[in-house]
C-alpha cells in the first residue's frame, strides 16, 4: 500500500484551521519523546511547560506580557508574507525601535510630561520603520533580496545596541555594567494590573489587531497585498504597484516591531540592556504562520508561543531543563505546521 497526494479542486477551509491543531498535537507527542530521551518525566515536564504557568493570576498576566511583542510583530510580518515580501529582520527592527524610543527617554531624563511616552512610541515606530526602509529601498531600487539584507541588519542592530550601552549610553552610576540608567516614571509604560507586569501594551496590540483586520479584509490595500502575493501578473495588469506594496508591508512590519521594542524597554525591562528580546522577532515568524497570516489567528498563535517562552522559564526553574528547549519546541511546531499544510491543497489517498 502506498500513500499518494491528490490535488483538491479548491483549498480546504476546514484544513486551514485544522492543520494548526494537528501540528500542536504532533508537537506535543514529539516533545513527550524528546523529554523521555532527555531523561526527564515527560508528563511532569509537559505539566511544567503548559499547565503550571497558567495556574496563577500572575502567570496569566505574564503570558499577555510576552504575547504583546509577538502579536505586534507577527501582525506586521503577516502583511508582508501575504505579498511574498519576506522580512525576517524584525529582531533588528525591534532593537532599533527600542533604541530610538529608549534613547529619547534617556535624552529627556527627568522630564515629567504625559506626552513623553506617546512621543517615545512614535520614536520607536519611526526607528523600526527606518531600519525596515533599508531593505525596502534596496529591494525596490536595486532588486536586492530582502531576506538576506533584513537578516544582516539584525546583526548590525544588535552590535549597535552593544556599542551604545558599552559607550555613550552607559549608566554613569552603574558600576560599569553595560546597561543604561533606569527610565524615570514618565517614560515607563503604565501597568494595568497591580502586582503584575501586565501593561497597556496588550490592549494596544489588540486594538492594532482590529485595525489590521479592517485594513486587510475591507480596505483596497489589503486586497492589493493579496493579489500581489497570489498572482503577481494579475496585479501588474490591474495596475497595482508592486513597489508600493513592498514599501507598505516592510514599513508596517518595521513600525510594528519598533513599537514592540520600545514597549519592551519602557515596560517590563525599564532600561536598555544588552539583550532586549529573547528572539521575539524570529518567533513572530512562527506566530504569523501559525495564525494563518490572519490578524485574529495571530492573537491566538501569539498567546500559544508566549506560553512556550513562559513554560521554558518554569521548566528551567522547577525541573532544571535547559532554556533552549523552548527553541526546539518552536521549531518543531513550525515543522509540523508546514507539513500538515499539505492537507489544505491535497488529500491523502491510500493506493493499494
Amino acid at each position: 500500500m502506498a500513500l499518494r497526494f491528490e490535488a483538491r479542486g479548491a483549498a480546504s477551509r476546514a484544513m486551514v484551521l485544522g492543520s494548526p491543531a494537528i501540528a500542536v498535537v504532533l508537537t506535543l507527542a514529539a516533545s513527550l519523546v524528546m523529554f523521555a530521551s532527555l531523561g526527564t518525566d515527560p508528563v511532569r515536564a509537559l505539566q511544567a511547560f503548559f499547565i503550571q504557568p497558567l495556574s496563577s493570576e500572575r502567570g496569566v498576566a505574564e503570558l499577555m506580557v510576552k504575547a504583546t511583542p509577538l502579536v505586534l510583530i507577527a501582525l506586521g510580518l503577516s502583511m508582508g508574507f501575504r505579498a511574498n515580501v519576506w522580512n525576517i529582520g524584525a529582531e533588528g527592527q525591534l532593537t532599533l525601535g527600542a533604541l530610538a524610543g529608549g534613547g529619547l527617554a534617556l535624552a529627556l531624563y527627568g522630564y515629567e510630561s504625559p506626552f513623553l511616552l506617546p512621543l517615545m512610541f512614535v520614536a520607536g515606530i519611526a526607528g523600526g520603520m527606518a531600519w525596515a526602509a533599508i531593505p525596502a529601498f534596496l529591494k525596490t531600487r536595486f532588486n536586492t533580496n530582502e531576506i538576506l539584507t533584513s537578516l544582516m541588519l539584525v546583526y548590525v542592530a544588535i552590535l549597535l545596541l552593544s556599542y551604545l550601552i558599552h559607550g555613550p549610553w552607559r549608566d554613569p552610576d552603574g558600576f560599569n555594567f553595560p546597561e543604561s540608567r533606569l527610565f524615570h516614571d514618565s517614560a515607563r509604560v503604565p501597568v494595568l494590573l497591580q502586582g503584575t507586569r501586565l501593561h497597556i501594551g496588550w490592549p494596544i496590540a489588540l486594538a492594532i489587531t482590529a485595525t489590521t483586520w479592517i485594513l486587510l479584509a475591507r480596505h483596497i490595500i489589503g486586497f492589493q497585498i493579496r493579489v500581489v502575493g497570489l498572482a503577481p501578473a494579475a496585479a501588474s495588469f490591474a495596475g497595482f504597484s508592486r513597489t508600493r506594496i513592498i514599501w507598505t508591508t516592510l514599513l508596517a512590519g518595521g513600525g510594528a516591531a519598533g513599537l514592540a521594542g520600545v514597549m519592551e524597554v519602557a515596560g517590563p525591562i525599564g532600561q536598555i540592556v544588552p539583550v532586549i528580546s529573547p528572539g521575539y522577532g524570529f518567533t513572530a515568524i512562527i506566530v504569523a504562520f501559525l495564525g494563518r497570516l490572519q490578524p485574529v489567528g495571530v492573537v491566538f498563535a501569539g498567546l500559544l508561543m508566549a506560553l512556550t517562552y513562559l513554560g521554558g522559564e518554569y521548566a528551567q526553574i522547577t525541573m532544571n531543563l535547559p532554556n533552549a528547549v523552548t527553541g526546539v519546541f518552536q521549531g518543531m511546531l513550525l515543522f509540523f505546521l508546514l507539513a500538515s499544510d499539505i492537507l489544505i491543497r491535497y488529500r491523502v489517498r491510500f493506493v493499494p
Binding site: F142, I147, L148, Y163, P322, G331, L334
Partner: protein, 308 residues
C-alpha cells in the same frame, strides 16, 4: 617579524574562510537542483555541535568531522522531506530549520559549555612545512582546509562535466521537462539537498573543531546567512563562491586585527563590517535584474508535484 605577522594573518584568513567555502558550495549544489534551502545557518550550527560532541566523547578527529557532516545531512533530510514530499514552502521551511537548529544545538550543547577540544591536527611535512612563507601557507593546514579546496574542484567538475551534473542542472532549470524525459526529480533534489546539508555540517565542524575549538551557543553568528549571500554573489558558480568566501574571511580577520591594533573605532562598529559588506556586495551583484534572472536556476524555490 613582518613576514611572520603576514603569514599568521593569512593563516587565520584561511581558517575563517573555510567554513564559508563548505557552506556556500554545498548550497550551490542544492540551489542548482532548484531547491532554495534557507536553513544553512541551522544545519551549520547542528553540524558544529555534532562534530564537537563526537570529538569530546570519542576523541577521534575523523569521527568528529564525519559526525559534523552527518548531523548537517540529517537536518537537510528533514528539510527535504517537508519541501520535496510534503510540498511545503521552501522559504518558510528553511527559516524553521534555522530556528529549530539553533534551539537543538543549544539543547545538545548545554553540557559541553566551557569544555575545550585539542583542535584538528595540522599537516606537518618535515623540511617542507618549515619553508619560509610558502611552507606554512601551503602545507601547514588541517585536513578540512584541503578538503574544502578539493570539494570546490570536485563540485565544479561534477556540475560541468558529468552526466549526473547535467541531470541535476536540468532539474533545476525546468523540472517539468526533466520529469517528462524520465529524470527522477524528487530523488535528484533530495540528494542535492542532502549534499548541501553535509557540506554545511562540515562548515560547522570547521568552526567548532578548528576555528575556535570549543562550543559557544550561536557560534555560527550568521555565517550560514553570509554563505547564502555568497551563492548569489557567485552567480551559482563554485569557484566564484570560493573567492567570495576568502574575500569575506579576509574582511572578518582584517577587522579583528584592526581591533587588536587598537584602531580608534569601537570594536562593535568594526564587527559590523562583514554584515555590511554582505549587503553592499548583494546590492552590487543584484542591481542588474536581467543578469540575475539569467544566472539563477529557473525553478529555484518552486515545488514539484508530478500529476499522473
Amino acid at each position: 617579524m613582518t613576514i611572520d605577522f603576514l603569514v599568521a594573518a593569512l593563516m587565520t584568513i584561511i581558517t575563517a574562510s573555510t567554513p564559508l567555502v563548505f557552506a556556500a558550495v554545498g548550497e550551490i549544489v542544492a540551489e542548482r537542483s532548484g531547491v532554495l534551502n534557507l536553513g544553512v545557518e541551522g544545519m551549520m550550527i547542528v553540524g558544529a555541535i555534532g562534530a564537537f560532541a563526537t570529538g569530546i566523547i570519542t576523541g577521534d578527529p575523523v569521527l568528529a568531522v564525519l559526525a559534523g557532516a552527518a548531523s548537517g545531512a540529517l537536518m537537510a533530510f528533514i528539510f527535504g522531506c517537508l519541501t520535496l514530499w510534503l510540498l511545503s514552502n521552501q522559504v518558510a521551511t528553511g527559516l524553521a530549520l534555522t530556528i529549530f537548529g539553533i534551539g537543538l544545538s543549544a539543547l545538545l550543547g548545554h553540557q559541553f559549555v566551557g569544555v575545550t577540544l585539542a583542535g584538528l591536527p595540522r599537516l606537518d611535512i618535515p623540511g617542507i612545512t618549515d619553508l619560509p612563507f610558502i611552507g606554512p601557507l601551503l602545507f601547514g593546514h588541517d585536513a578540512l582546509v584541503y578538503l574544502s579546496v578539493v570539494s570546490v574542484i570536485a563540485v565544479a567538475w561534477f556540475l560541468r562535466h558529468t552526466r549526473a551534473g547535467l541531470a541535476l542542472r536540468a532539474v533545476g532549470e525546468n523540472h517539468d521537462a526533466a520529469h517528462s524525459i524520465g529524470y527522477p526529480v524528487i530523488l535528484i533534489r533530495l540528494l542535492a539537498v542532502l549534499f548541501g546539508g553535509a557540506m554545511a555540517g562540515l562548515g560547522g565542524a570547521c568552526l567548532s573543531l578548528a576555528y575556535t575549538p570549543l562550543w559557544i551557543e550561536n557560534m555560527t553568528a550568521g555565517r550560514g546567512w553570509i554563505a547564502l549571500a555568497l551563492v548569489v554573489f557567485a552567480s551559482w558558480r563554485p569557484w566564484r563562491a570560493f573567492f567570495g568566501a576568502y574575500l569575506f574571511g579576509g574582511i572578518t580577520i582584517i577587522q579583528l586585527h584592526a581591533q587588536g591594533l587598537g584602531v580608534a573605532i569601537p570594536s562593535q562598529i568594526l564587527s559590523m563590517l562583514p554584515y555590511i559588506a554582505t549587503i553592499v556586495v548583494l546590492v552590487l551583484i543584484s542591481r542588474d535584474d536581467v543578469r540575475m534572472r539569467f544566472n539563477a536556476p529557473a525553478c529555484l524555490g518552486r515545488s514539484f508535484h508530478a500529476t499522473g
